[in-house]
Every structure is written in C-alpha cells, then in structure tokens.
C-alpha cells in the first residue's frame, strides 16, 4: 500500500475493505463473507451502527486478501463507545452491538436509537421497518438569527480526550507489525459534513442542524459558517498535534473529511464557492499534516467532483475516495490521465449502484478488470468499491470482485 501511495506501481494492487466508515462493509455482507470463506461462526460486531457497518477482523481480512487496517473512532455516530458488546438480532441475523446501543421499536416497526445510549433523551436516529441503515432524526431548534452563536455548532468539536488518545494509541500499537497499511479517522476534521450536521451523537444539538437549512446557510449565513470552520480548524490542528505526539508516523493516511461536494449529475456548489468557503481550512489542516507528519491526507466526496479535483490537490489532499465513476464527468480513464500522478484513487474499483448489487458475477469481474487496467499502472490506486458494500449485495458478486483483483495481480487467495 505504501508503494501505491507513493505513486509507484506495487507488486499487486492494495485492497481495502473495512478500514474506514467510507470503505466499509454492511454487517450482513460481513456475515455472508465469513460464511462463504468458512471462518469461525460468530456474530459480527457492528462497529458503526449508523450505516450498520460490520467489523472486518483479521481472519476475514486474510481470507479476502486485504492490505489495510483501520484506526476506527472510539465512539459511534450515536455518541456511545463501540465497546462492551451485546447481542442483537438484525432482521434475523445475530450480531453484536455496543453496550450502549439502545433502541425502541415503534408500533409501525421503525427502530429508534438514542444518543449516547440515553433513553431519556430524544431519539437521534431512525431505521425504517425493513431498512438496513439508520438515518439521523433532524432536531432543529428554532433559529433566531440575532442569537445564532457559532459555539452552538461547535459543541462536538473540542480538545481530544485522554480516552480517545489512549484508544488511538492502543489501536495503532495493536496493528503495528501486522504488515498492513494503516488508515485512521481521528474525527473533528470534517468541515460541514452533511451526515454530521444533524449531530446524531448529541443529546440536544443547537445551532443549525437541519440538512436543508445548513445547505441554504452556505449561501445566506456564510459569515457564521466561516466562524465555525475557523474555530474548528484551530481545534483540529491542536488535536492532530496531540495525536501525532502519541503515535508519530505510525499511520499511513488520515481520513480527514467526508463532506460531499458532488451529486449524481452535478455539484453541491460552484468551484468558486468551494474555494471561498472550504479551501482555506482544508489547506491549513493539510499543510499542518504535511509539515509535521508523514501522514497522507484522505478526502472522501461522493458524486461528480472532477471540477474540484485540481482544488483538492492544491489544498493538499493526497487521496480521493470513493471515485464515483458512475457520476457525471467521472470517466475513469480521463481521471487517471489528468490526476493520476498527483492524486491516489482509493476506490473506483466497481460500481455499487448497479453492477455490484444487481449485476452478474461475470459483469462484476469484467468491470473490475477494466478498472484495474485503468487505475493500476504507475501506482496511486488502492482498490475499493465505490463507497461501502451495501446491504443486499450478493456475496457471489463480492467474491467475484475480490477474485478479479487477485486474478489481475496474478495471485491466488483463500
């Protein structure tokens, strides 16, 4: 993986599944893969209940032929630690969930989940009956523009706790010597990530927490958002410094921000808006990382983002994910030609909107081989599907995807 990140062609394409919350696997797929590879039968841990992502443990990582392990956040999106596991039945599948994963089933079958596991608080997430994921419940207090205080939108951004530092150090040390590449998510460095705006991890979120209101505020309350980003930037750099003091350069890359700038056919803002509102803060964080560490900066943004890639590079991002080739203007060969020597493509391996969930294993195989032919030459490619493997993806297709990568590399696994 390190060779690939240095834009040199490695002996085989590094493969990631499960190292971050944007390159993960739905718990039902993790269970199916464990079964497929004949691994010890045991309930899979749901390390991230928001997206119901299952933990990829060492035995599955080896069976799938993966090359990356992750420093996952200590706390989940619902604000409780991913620890003290207990049994839970998810649509007939026995899984393990964190001890503070507390839910209430509504009369219509919807499942509500509580922030910090506090059942006296208003629920902050809902999984509709028959669905496979939670979504944030919008809890927007009435907005009085005269009294809006950036501190209200900064509640979740503060000095990193000793518990978090211990968790990071422990995880890094445990993975040290494993030979795997290491991707880390340290939290707090995502500027205006729309998944985080509703703050499902807080009991009483204040400020602007409604998704549509936030988007509109990027036009109408730009000064307010600048003040949030400004302070968040200072806090995150202080936190990154403390983390680096603890773990040094032991991780290879840091997943810094998951704010989506692309839609399927267009963008969430113009390049000019991006450069005015986001670019200065990204650049400051990335510049600090590059000046003080050997970490590489990992940016996630779904959708049609070709127009932003030059700015991402200028802002100091080294890695782009998930490389949504199905979105407008995201043709893989063109991306590789224009940006391949300057940006690592961490994703783009196979389409997850159509081919992987609905195609045949042969169609999956053919698409994966085509993508590897485009992205692999010269390095700068870490294989991952385009975003997480979603619930309902046939295990045969996942295996066909992995086998195709291994076939491309000329190696045999499992």
């Amino acid at each position: 993986m390190r060779t690939a990140l240095e834009h040199r062609e490695p002996d085989r394409i590094p493969l990631d599944f499960g190292s971050t919350a944007v390159t993960g696997i739905h718990v039902s797929c993790v269970a199916a893969l464990r079964d497929y590879y004949g691994l010890a039968p045991r309930p899979v841990k749901v390390h991230e209940p928001y997206q119901m992502l299952g933990l990829v443990e060492d035995d599955l990582r080896a069976a799938m032929g993966l090359d990356v392990t992750g420093v996952l956040p200590r706390k989940t999106m619902f604000g409780f630690p991913a620890a003290d596991w207990k049994e839970w039945n998810f649509h007939g599948l026995d899984v393990l969930v964190p001890g503070d994963f507390r839910t209430r089933t509504e009369p219509n079958g919807d499942i509500l989940i509580f922030p910090e596991g506090d059942e006296t608080a208003a629920p902050s997430g809902r999984m509709p009956m028959g669905s496979a994921f939670f979504d944030a419940i919008i809890r927007q207090p009435e907005i009085d523009d005269e009294r809006l205080d950036p501190a209200d939108n900064l509640e979740e951004f503060g000095p990193i706790s000793e518990d978090d530092l211990d968790h990071i150090e422990r995880t890094v040390r445990a993975a040290g010597g494993s030979g795997y590449g290491m991707a880390a998510a340290f939290s707090g460095t995502a500027f205006g990530d729309i998944a985080l705006v509703p703050a499902p991890f807080l009991k009483n979120p204040k400020g602007i927490r409604d998704v549509a209101e936030w988007y509109m505020s990027t036009r109408t309350r730009r000064g307010y958002i600048h003040r949030i980003f400004e302070r968040q930037c200072e806090i995150s750099i202080e936190n990154l410094a403390r983390i680096h003091t603890r773990i040094g350069d032991a991780v290879d890359c840091v997943f810094l921000c998951g704010t989506d700038f692309g839609t399927q056919t267009s963008a969430f803002c113009s390049v000019a808006t991006f450069r005015e509102l986001w670019f200065p803060y990204y650049k400051r964080v990335n510049d600090w990382v590059h000046a003080h560490t050997a970490w590489r900066c990992f940016k996630h943004s779904c959708g049609s983002v070709e127009r932003f890639l030059e700015s991402f590079i200028e802002a100091g991002f080294d890695i782009i994910n998930p490389v949504q080739c199905s979105a407008a203007g995201m043709a893989p060969a063109e991306l590789k030609r224009k940006y391949g020597s300057r940006l690592v493509f961490w994703g783009g391996g196979v389409d997850t909107q159509k081919t992987l969930p609905f195609g045949t294993p042969q169609e999956v195989r053919e698409e994966v081989l085509r993508r590897c032919e485009i992205f692999a030459p010269g390095g700068g490619f870490v294989f991952n599907s385009i975003h997480n493997l979603q619930a309902g993806t046939p295990v045969e297709n996942i295996v066909a995807m992995l086998d195709a990568v291994h076939q491309f590399d000329g190696v045999s696994h499992a």
Binding site: S131, A212, S266, F268, S270, Q353, K354, Q390
Partner: protein
C-alpha cells in the same frame, strides 16, 4: 400598486420574505391568484430550473428559491382552491418505503408546484398503500417516486406493482427519480417517466399529463 415582477425576482433570488410580502400586496391590490402563479411563480421556477440545469445554481440556491416560492404559494393556494382553479395536474409524491432521504424529493415537489401542479407530498418512507390511497383520494393523475438508496430502489417496483394489483395503474402515470435511478431502471420496472434532475422532472411531468 405592488410590482409583481419583484415576486419573480424574489423567487429567483431566494428571498422568501420579499416573495411573501409582494404576494400579499398583489392579492390586496386585486391581482388574481391564478395570475400570480402563471404569470410570476411558474416563470420564476422555470428560470430557477434553467439555472440549475446550466449549473449557475446548485442545491443551496434551489432550496432558497423553493422556500421563496412556497412562501408565496402558501398565501395563494387557499385562494386558488376557493376559486376552483384547476392545476396543470395533480401529483402525489414521496420517497419510497424504507428510504428517509427527502431533499431531492422536496426539490422536485417544489419545482412541480412552481410548475403549476397541485402537489400532495407524502414525505419519506412511504408505503405503496399510502401512495395508492392518496392518489385515489385526490384524483391524482401523476405519482412521483423518489429513492436515494440502491436497497430501496426495489420499493419503486413494489409500488408500481401495487398500483397494478389495485387496478389503478391505468389511471395514473408514474414517474421515478433519485441518484441511483436510471432511464434503463425506470423502463425495467414499468415506470412511465424518469427525471434525471429536479428541473427535468417538471418537463417529464408536463409531458406525462399532456399525453
């Protein structure tokens, strides 16, 4: 005399307070409610759609314009109903069962309303039977289904099949949209129309109700 042209500008610029104030003033001055819709709101939202299509506008600007249009429509709508004005069409819209994503659906609903349609918005996570009940109760001639997730796209087919089973499939046109949805998928599940964007959805809807 108020200047209703300012209403068009207010909607395009996303200024809901001005949009509401100009609408109130226009009504007080005797401008016909239907003239406000057809003369100002529809052209304004057409312009917003055009700007979105050519990427002068993005989601935030669309949301602001939609809010301004709604502020005006909230004043005009009861008067239209009282006057018995007929909309371009009646559309029941919702995000399908299992899917809670509603920003795209809300934008399409606003664009349709701004396009002269009466919109019955059922929200998100809508079961097939609720679409059927609402379509029947409101004598809708159009049903618009939204999905963001690959795992909920299948609910679109379930909903279309439910209209068939209820014997109502021939009475309504059904259009679909959402990030993972394609024309090919729309054709495969037997939808009548597919809109790639909020602006395109209005053109599709107009074509379907005219057919």
């Amino acid at each position: 005399m108020p200047d209703p042209v300012k209403l068009r500008e207010a909607v395009i610029e996303g200024d809901w307070k001005t949009a509401a104030a100009v609408t109130q003033a226009a009504i007080a001055a005797g401008v016909a409610p239907l003239a406000i819709v057809t003369g100002y709101l529809v052209p304004a939202m057409d312009e917003v759609g055009r700007r979105f299509e050519c990427e002068e506008y993005f989601v935030p600007e669309m949301l602001l314009s939609a809010r301004a249009m709604k502020a005006s429509m909230d004043i005009v709508r009861p008067l239209l109903a009282a006057a018995g004005a007929e909309p371009v069409g009646r559309v029941v819209i919702g995000t399908v069962k299992g899917d809670l994503h509603d920003i795209g659906k809300n934008l399409v609903a606003s664009m349709l309303e701004g396009g002269g349609f009466e919109v019955i918005d059922l929200g998100a996570d809508v079961a097939p039977e609720r679409f059927i009940e609402a379509a029947a109760a409101n004598s809708a001639n159009l049903v618009a289904l939204s999905a963001l997730l690959t795992v909920t796209m299948t609910s679109m087919k379930t909903t279309i099949d439910a209209f068939q089973a209820a014997g109502l499939r021939e009475k309504v046109k059904i259009m679909v949209g959402g990030a993972p949805v394609t024309q090919q998928f729309a054709d495969a599940i037997g939808a009548d129309g597919y809109g790639q964007s909020a602006g395109a959805a209005v053109a599709v809807a107009r074509k379907l109700v005219a057919a």
